[in-house]
């Protein structure tokens, strides 16, 4: 780690001001950022911890949406979203290990947009709205390729609004070492159609599988996906799986998610 200043504001406004400084960076649960700092791969002059901001925490049901504060930990989502949005709570309950879930936050995960992260699949698969200190961003506009999002410098995710589907599920196969998704698919059925979001698979980060959405919107059953494939051209190929294997897994995981959806 390099040296940095540390502040822990109590409100979003104070945090935004603190982040206005050159080289200041937000700190959520630190589960991604702290290891990066320890490896000296980042050198912010100041860390602005978001963990002391009460207004950014908590899970609530507002109309037909579940609203989650940007500083809410995975564990809290797993527990408190369980009745309103079980598919989302299940996803949160399977991120990392207990230590990660007790620290890591939804805002941090979405801001980071790791191509193998779990939450981006839920956000895109639910057509969620990412709410920041200055605006609201539709999930379809928010994710812009691996580790790239619509967020501006210093912009804070204060909450995320998830429309509640009729049915949903998340199916993932873990990468053997990191246990992040090797490929995972989030499926959500809404009155106006089905959304299918895939994470872990593509070099362009989380994406919607539109052919599967169309097929499932007509017939929400696993075998509706028979014969559908995603091209392997843009799939990640690495130590843990070839591009062809990943594109195959997209189909398998999508079917499993549909079969498990409740």
């Amino acid at each position: 780690m390099y040296n940095f200043d540390f502040v822990k504001p109590a409100t979003v406004d104070e945090a935004v001001k603190a982040l206005a400084d050159d080289e200041a960076q937000a700190l959520g649960g630190g589960q991604t950022l702290i290891p990066t700092l320890k490896q000296r791969l980042a050198s912010p002059s100041k860390l602005v911890s978001l963990t002391g901001i009460a207004e950014m925490k908590g899970v609530s049901k507002q109309g037909d949406a579940v609203v989650i504060g940007g500083g809410t930990t995975h564990r809290t989502v797993a527990e408190e979203a369980a009745s309103a949005y079980p598919g989302l709570a299940d996803l949160a309950s399977r991120i990392g290990d207990p230590a990660v879930r007790n620290r890591g936050t939804i805002g941090g995960s979405l801001a980071n947009n790791d191509p193998s992260a779990c939450y981006p699949a839920a956000a895109l698969g639910s057509g969620a709205t990412i709410v920041t200190n200055s605006r609201e961003i539709a999930a379809d506009d928010y994710f812009q390729g691996m580790f790239t999002t619509a967020l501006e410098e210093g912009e804070i995710i204060t909450e995320v609004r998830f429309p509640i589907p009729q049915k949903s599920a998340y199916a993932k196969i873990a990468q053997p070492a990191s246990r992040f998704p090797l490929v995972a698919v989030f499926v959500a059925q809404y009155g106006d159609g089905v959304r299918v979001a895939v994470t872990g698979a593509s070099n362009n980060g989380v994406f919607r599988w539109s052919e599967a959405e169309a097929a499932l919107s007509g017939n929400f059953a696993a075998d509706a996906l028979d014969g559908l494939t995603v091209a392997s051209d843009d799939m990640i190929g690495d130590l843990h799986g070839t591009a062809a294997y990943r594109s195959h897994l997209v189909g398998v995981m999508a079917k499993r998610a549909v079969a498990a959806a409740s």
Partner: protein
Amino acid sequence: MPKDGGIGASSKRREDIRFLTGAGNYTDDINLRGQAYVFFLRSDIAHGTINNIDTSAAEGMPGVVKVFTAADFAGVGGMPCGWQVTDKHGEVMQEPGHPILATGKVRHVGEPIAAVVAETLAQARDAAEAIDVDITELPAVIDMKDALKADAPKVHDDLKNNLCYDWGFVEENKAAVEEAFQNAAHVTTLELRNNRLVANPMEPRVAVGDFARGTGDHTLYTTSQNPHVIRLLMGAFVLGIPEHKLRVVAPDVGGGFGTKIFHYQEEAFVTFAAKACNRPVKWTSSRTEAFMSDAHGRDHVTTIQLALDADNNFTALRTDTHANMGAYLSTFAPSVPTWLHGTLMAGNYKTPLIYVNVKAVFTNTVPVDAYRGAGRPEATFQLERVIDKAAIELGVDAIELRRQNFITEFPYATPVAVEYDTGDYVATMDKLTEIADLAGFEARRKESEARGKLRGLGVNCYIEACGIAPSNLVGQLGARAGLYESATVRVNATGGLVVMTGSHSHGQGHETAFPQVIAEMIGIDESMIEIVHGDTANTPMGMGTYGSRSIAVGGSAMVRATEKIIAKAKKIASHLLEASESDIELKDGAFSVAGTDKSVAWGDVTLAAYVPHNYPLEDIEPGLEETAFYDPSNFTYPSGAYACEVEVDRDTGQVTIERFSAADDFGNIINPMIVSGQVHGGIAQGIGQALLENCAYDENGQLLSASYMDYAMPRAYDMPFFSVDHSCQTPCTHNPLGVKGCGEAGAIGSPPAVVGAVVDALRSAGKDVTHVNMPLSPSRVWAAMQ
């Protein structure tokens, strides 16, 4: 009835109280007055010529004490290699220099180029970033077969090529083996890879160097499995410090698995730098550094061929292995693919003719050396896999094929130079059949299939050579060390004992098991005995712990020393009891005169030894302290049979281990609980190798699996409940305890069972698969099904 103490009792591990309550004393817990910290600037390229190292900016950075480069080590010896292999042409291996800091060239990612000693670690690291290294990158050689091509870049310019040695064993058998293959009714050929592993002990390596200016004494605290070996190698070959001026302490060590046997540059560096800087210097490896500086394990590529006659008897075996040495020779690297591997190629079978060829190759990768099992897992894996493949090709039952070829008469002299003293392979296979419920497998397979899963069974045997080793024998084979072990037993006046042993415990439970032996011999409570190890200042010269040698060799030394104690104590007792020495019996901690009710307690005798008022001073010295060195006359040969059952997910290729059973013959057993624990740990590492672990480089020599994000460590939930049994016991005939050693068996015996089970599962779905290379990741298993 289980015993509640002594040999055969499952005494609870006394060391766990401190390990589990955070009260251990590890090397990183040692902080000396005035201590400075070193940070090593390591190469981020695999191969290159160092044109210039400019340390001027770094030297002026805050907190910097001194910046070191290779120039500071002119006149200091390089890292020594402890084993010289002679090749099949009678020539000694090519042995490159191995500097403490890179000299002229860098040869692998992670090689230390410069070192900064500073007041704090952060300052040392800051300054290291300010060192300007001008390197011209050279093409790297990573693949072993590429490295042997005529036009391959040379890892060491002063060597002829990248071939360390081309070893043939037994060379005299070669022609007969060829002939047997020509006459064979069937020949099975299998190509396989034994994957490269990183040991990853929970505690990374740490070294603290100290120098006492007033006396000229050096002290090195280090995470070592064998502090005396480090003292000898570093003192005599690297730094030129006589042993009486060098103390090496290896306190609590959090796992070694072989990787802490070797003498490393960082140890020599901190010892040297402590004097140069006139203050203690500490190095603590980060996990990232561990991946690129701890010696790696395995990494063999092998073609094995098995010849059978028309009745399916094994008639000959031939292997051709490329063994990766990495960029330099780590301390015992040359011995692993040769004497620890070729000599085990007979396995449990009476194959009369065997020829083993091993080409050891230099590449631009981290040095490779012994890892739990060292050579023996490589031998077992290829042998057991080729037998499975032969059974498939011949359409016969793989277990029956093994049974038919078992060695059944002992002692048995193999065609690969070793003589098995005892064993009963039929008994362990029978025991396995029972505990693994092999009869119930087909029903379990149907049940799995009903759930849509493929199920497979893998069964194999293993043999290993432990209790390393007869010194005169290993000397002939190229070892530059003896492999005896030592113990000093010191009895205190009030009857308690301290055993100072050259063995080193880094998780094995010596502090519990060793006292059990002495308690049994004397008939006193285990709590009266304390084990001291790990400090050259207060233990006799010993060779340390690896190769499952501690109880077989170190335990035997302790028995011999205790026998001397008992003999002397009997003399004292005979004096106190006014009886003839030959009439004195020791039982339950008391000396009595045979056939009388006269007796004297252990404590009375020990007190007399130190308060010799009524004592035969004219015949014997006061005091009760004895030392013994034990040099074994042979290896010990634990053996066993293992069974693994897996389920395979057809759609994803994911493998889960459903059952794992191990029937081992370890000879006599001191503490069954500890033995089971050793087997559990070994199997977990074997399953790790088979399913998960893979140290991979790209073609430029960048380490792809350089952290736990990409190097898959086994976790508790990857493991089934193990069913382990060690009731089959054919005691070793040549050590006083009849013990064989159990530390590596699990890691040796388990990988072929796992791979065999997965292959069996795939074949049950009609796939024509005979082998899949480790690790059997979902991706590879899925690919094998396509």
